[in-house]
């Protein structure tokens, strides 16, 4: 498993600056203009990084190479889910850190105080995205994966404002019961676990 994570790091070594660029571009775009910028910066950067780490494996049909190494397909999927979780945590925490710094450095931006819930909600949203994206990515061919990436990016842009509004309403009006607050994380976790097993099952049967 560690070897696969190491493999991802070596493969992405020269592209890691792209993730920092995502973070910078999204921060400059959203922090001054969007009230819910902390979610946008974290979620967009995390998902951009995840797309980068999945696409690197199919650029040159590299799955065919990976499968010749002493590993099995389950381990390939497992490593990718772990990488995705790591990128999610890093991006969301980075967004939190940047907003904390922005609040200190630019009080005129009038950014609110962010609680740790912001981190958890952002991570939850990215986990849902990963849960939908991964089975599609590992089932489709290189061309199909490209289309899925484009669809996800468009969906993220289109759905960003409505989702932000929803989160805002939930925060302000306290319309969600404590029971729901417990059920939602459990549901997200279940969806993520189900997606993991589904992806393994689909990828194991796929001809590379």
């Amino acid at each position: 498993m560690l070897n696969l994570l190491r493999k991802d790091f070596i493969a992405l070594k020269s592209s890691l600056w792209t993730i920092i660029l995502y973070l910078a571009v999204f921060s400059f775009t959203f922090i001054p203009n969007a009230e819910m910028s902390i979610y946008f910066v974290g979620i967009y950067t995390a998902f951009g990084a995840i797309i980068l780490t999945t696409m690197i494996d199919i650029k040159n049909h590299n799955h065919q190479f990976l499968i010749t190494l002493p590993i099995n397909r389950k381990q390939i999927v497992q490593a990718k889910y772990i990488t995705a979780i790591l990128y999610t945590i890093l991006a969301v925490v980075a967004s939190y850190g940047i907003h904390w710094l922005a609040k200190l450095a630019f009080p005129q931006l009038d950014k609110p105080d962010y609680s740790l819930w912001v981190i958890l909600i952002s991570i939850g949203i990215v986990l849902v995205l990963i849960a939908v994206y991964m089975p599609l990515f590992y089932t489709l061919s290189k061309k199909g994966a490209g289309i899925i990436n484009a669809i996800f990016l468009i969906a993220l842009i289109v759905l960003a404002q409505p989702a932000a509004k929803l989160i805002q309403i939930i925060n302000e009006q306290d319309v969600v019961s404590t029971q729901t607050w417990l059920l939602v994380p459990a549901g997200v976790l279940l969806l993520f676990i189900a997606s993991y097993f589904l992806t393994i099952s689909l990828f194991t049967r796929k001809d590379l």
């Binding site: 070897n3 040159n60 590299n62 799955h63 010749t68 190494l69 590993i71 796929k206 590379l208």
Partner: protein, 288 residues
């Protein structure tokens, strides 16, 4: 003992099928997998390696079942392919750094010795390598973890004649260790004339034969003669026949029968593997 045991392996695609292939690849020998382009050689190799999932049948490699024990199996197998699926943007050094930790018996010194021998700079990016150089890299990687079984898919197709010969010598060196086995798919049959012990011939997704090379040469015969020697019955005995206005040339699968049929009226010659492949693939009569 068999290094590879394939039983009733089948894979169907919309326009092509590998059908019910059973095969034993003997340990300690070089087996050449021959056949024209697109007849299923690569599909068969991909099924052995778990890249393509068979519809039916089973594969055992080095006594272990695929894909159940694929991790252990692949520790002991080296793979060389003309399709270079490494990460193109990485240098050879980074590719080695990526691959080496996966193998328990990785030998760094040996890998660098091969790089020197093949004149490959570790600083060079994979995307900047020619097809021949990529095969050399694949060979260096495949030979650097003490693999007992080398599976090679069209390894000589992009190589110049000088390195092709060097590679064949290298493979002969690998075979100095009697435990080692090589299976080598190619449509350049002259390579196998030189080094193979067994020949497996695949045509249109089916196994035509799997025999010791010497037996193949003893069994098949090329007959050349005047067209007057041919009638419908005799034509039907040929595996493949090529007729010209002045004569014919055909492949028979039974040397004794050829001698009985034609005696001294025709010329009987030992075929090359290419002759066997050509006439079997063409089948029936070809008019030139």
């Amino acid at each position: 003992m068999n290094a590879i045991e394939i039983r009733n392996l089948t894979k169907a695609y919309p326009l092509f099928k590998v059908e019910d292939v059973s095969l034993d690849v003997k340990q300690g020998f070089i087996t050449g997998l021959i056949g024209p382009n697109g007849v299923g050689k690569s599909t068969l190799i991909k099924m052995m390696l778990g890249i393509v999932r068979p519809d039916a049948g089973s594969v055992k490699i080095l006594g272990c079942e695929m894909p159940k024990h694929e991790v252990d199996i692949k520790q002991r197998v080296g793979i060389v392919s003309d399709d270079c699926f490494y990460y193109e943007h990485l240098t050879i050094r980074d590719t080695m750094k990526m691959i080496s930790p996966f193998y328990k018996n990785w030998d760094n010194k040996r890998f660098h010795r091969y790089l020197d021998q093949f004149e490959l700079s570790p600083k060079k990016k994979v995307q900047d390598l020619s097809k021949g150089m990529k095969i050399k890299l694949s060979l260096a990687l495949g030979l650097s973890h003490e693999a007992e079984l080398l599976i090679m898919d069209e390894p000589t197709s992009g190589l110049d004649p000088i390195f092709r010969r060097e590679m064949l010598d290298l493979l002969t060196d690998v075979m100095q260790d009697e435990r080692n086995t090589i299976i080598f798919s190619t449509h350049i049959t002259t390579d196998l004339d030189r080094i193979a012990d067994y020949i497996t011939f695949i045509n249109r997704g089916k196994l035509v034969f799997h025999e010791a090379k010497e037996e193949v040469f003893e069994k098949y015969v090329i007959v050349k003669g005047d067209r007057q020697l041919l009638d419908q019955d005799i034509r039907s005995k040929f595996i493949g026949i090529r007729e010209t206005p002045v004569g014919f040339e055909g492949l028979l699968g039974d040397k004794e029968e050829a001698e009985q049929l034609f005696g001294r009226y025709a010329v009987l010659e030992q075929p090359s593997l290419e002759d066997i492949m050509y006439f079997t693939a063409k089948g029936g009569a070809v008019h030139a």
